[in-house]
């Protein structure tokens, strides 16, 4: 009999019941935010139900929160949504990190930061970027609001098992190439529907040498490749990452947990339905040029010509170029930028901020950049960055240093693009209107966003150094 994949192991460990091909899966951790939960709580109220296991839930407002210090939410509809979360959590006794709690932040940043999401868990949240938590050997995926209600009421979900895919990135990365570039390269390769129906395991030398935070960046965007969940096997780095976190076990419980976590890898003889390998050395700093995350080119490249594309891609490419106001064959470094956004559940952790600050240090944001935002992923990331003096580096260069939240990744608060504005963004989606109606989003790594802020046009950290020396 063939061995088991990491996904097989996690799935079997959480299987409660099977019927008509559907499986009832037990959920260990349920993360809740203000946007996708009110209707679920309302459903519970109407049916006279209560949360099955209150201690499994951790709630935090993040999508709507203002990022300017000490501001009340001006929009009454946004305010009501956050107050509704507060009220629901109070009513049911759910642990919530409120807007003024230092631990507040983006749900996918605070989960691992607190050790509230751990290896071996099933983690769900009414948010597609829940795949982030797979970075440490958890089975984590986004769900809709009806499913949020289902988990609240039953601690379980009805699911169909996905197929297994392994994406191996071999060798090592060149200097200046980051985990964001790796995941953009993967999406560019397999496409935004390439992972549909699959659980993706990321493996190979590049992932073995990658930090846990870098793995989170990659797993975060598994959904952009169509896969509900992405994951990486547990190794010593994973275990080191969680030791001492507030929600993590201690003493003998810690030792028992570690023993179990060390089993969370794919067996050598495990069979995957699909295997893809990319050589790490060939990945360069990337940027998206269109309105789908699969539309990627190297920062040193040119905007592609739809006429040279296969027929099924041509029309989307033409639409995208028209929306982005770009011409085929334009040199990427000839494109100037209006705004910079460093933040989001993809790239707002301390390593991301360190990466960007290293590029920015001692330099100034270019005159044509109207707004350059740094939005840390949580209150604790912000505090850590301030202790390291990163805030000063950003502020001295002309960046704005903000409070944590989802911010301009999806512009549900006041941080947004105006129609026609072009943004270098470390977020995860470049869809039409995502960062504000008519806004034009180019997805990049924190290092590339920082270098672009300094240059005023798209460039990588490596190229920026060459130019200046």
């Amino acid at each position: 009999m063939a061995g088991k994949t990491l996904y097989d192991k996690l799935w079997e460990d959480h299987l409660v019941h099977q019927e008509d091909g559907a499986s009832l899966i037990y959920i260990d951790r349920h993360l809740v935010h203000e946007v996708t939960s009110p209707q679920a709580f309302e459903g519970l109220h109407i049916a006279g139900r209560k949360p099955w296991r209150v201690a499994s839930i951790l709630a935090v407002p993040d999508h709507n929160v203002p990022t300017v210090a000490d501001t009340q939410i001006s929009d009454p509809i946004s305010r009501l949504q956050i107050e509704t979360l507060d009220k629901n959590c109070q009513h049911f006794g759910i642990n919530e990190f409120g807007m003024h709690d230092i631990r507040q932040g983006i749900v996918h940043v605070i989960g691992p930061e607190q050790g509230a999401t751990l290896p071996g868990m099933t983690v769900v949240c009414g948010d597609s970027h829940t795949s982030t938590h797979g970075a440490f050997g958890a089975l984590a995926f986004g769900i809709g609001t009806s499913e949020v209600e289902h988990v609240l009421a039953t601690q379980c979900l009805l699911q169909h098992k996905s197929r297994n895919m392994r994406i191996s990135v071999s060798g090592s990365l060149q200097p200046g190439v980051t985990p964001k570039d790796v995941v953009l390269a993967i999406i560019g390769e397999i496409g935004t529907a390439g992972g549909t129906g699959y659980a993706i395991e990321f493996a190979g030398r590049v992932f073995e040498s990658m930090s846990i935070e870098g793995r989170m960046t990659v797993c975060n965007m598994a959904i952009e490749a169509g896969a509900r969940s992405g994951m990486v096997a547990v190794d010593d780095k994973t275990i080191d990452y969680f030791e001492g976190r507030p929600f993590a076990p201690t003493g003998t419980l810690w030792k028992d947990a570690v023993k179990e976590w060390k089993k969370l890898y794919s067996d050598e003889d495990a069979v995957f339905d699909l295997e893809i390998t990319l050589p790490g050395e060939q990945i360069t700093p990337l940027i998206t040029w269109g309105t789908s995350p699969e539309m990627v080119v190297p920062v040193t490249g040119k905007i592609p010509d739809p006429e040279t594309m296969p027929e099924d891609k041509r029309e989307s490419a033409l639409n995208a170029l028209s929306y982005m106001d770009l011409d085929p064959e334009t040199v990427v470094s000839d494109i100037t930028v209006d705004k910079i956004f460093i933040g989001s559940c993809t790239n707002s952790r301390i390593e991301d901020l360190r990466d960007a600050a290293a590029v920015v240090k001692g330099r100034k944001v270019a005159d044509n950049i109207m707004l350059a935002l740094v939005v840390p992923g949580s209150g604790l990331v912000k505090r850590q960055a301030e202790q390291e003096g990163l805030d000063k580096i950003f502020i001295d260069a002309g960046f704005e240093w903000r409070n944590p939240g989802c911010s301009m990744c999806l512009a549900m608060n006041d941080d947004r693009l105006e129609p026609g504005e072009r943004c270098a963004s470390t977020s995860n989606r470049n869809f039409e209107g995502r960062q504000g109606a008519g806004g034009r989003t180019h997805l990049v790594s924190p290092a590339t966003a920082a270098a672009t802020a300094i240059a005023g046009y798209f460039t990588s950290a490596n190229l920026l150094s060459t130019r200046l020396h």
């Binding site: 071996g120 549909t196 810690w254």
Partner: protein, 213 residues
Amino acid sequence: MRKFNLLDGLVVPLDRRNVDTDAIIPKQFLKSIKRSGFGPNLFDDWRYLDQGEPGMDNSSRPLNPDFVLNFSRYKGAEVLLTRSNFGCGSSREHAPWALEDYGIRSIIASSYADIFYNNCFKNGILPVILKENEINRLFVETLEIEHYRLKIDLSEQTISLPDGDHLKFEIDTFKKKCLLEGLDDIGQTLKHKNKIRDYETHRQQLKPWLFLS
């Protein structure tokens, strides 16, 4: 949940691949704490010429005459014909809520994003998967024939075309049953409440660190 069995509906063709849930219902409308009322803002950025905000009187907003949902021949459509990877991106269930509130009861595409596909079933919408060549044929016929209607029969898993032809489609048994009977998922799961309790108790003994709070 609303049942789905038979539908004889007017078809509206949305000829785009990778339609994301941000396009189906833009984020400013996600601030609502209700489940209903999203229909007037379905495809808001494409459907109107001005920028939509919650609380606007949508009936007095300027419509985009080039957007297919605004063509008079497709008024009252209940079937949305579209292309691959429909519903990609955000998990927002507001997307099927908006489609349902607008009057769409079934979608026909060659593929869907996973989360969106699941969300449809929770809201009485049938997402049908057909082959690319069948989708192409339906696009051609929808454009050529005014008031083009399709008869969708879930229990038989067939779509009947106006010329008498039939197309078969596949669907998971469990999902089909839930939609046909309009079953409440939570009620179904709670039938196994003792099994869940047993599993939970066993798990707590085996892996107590998962139950810390």
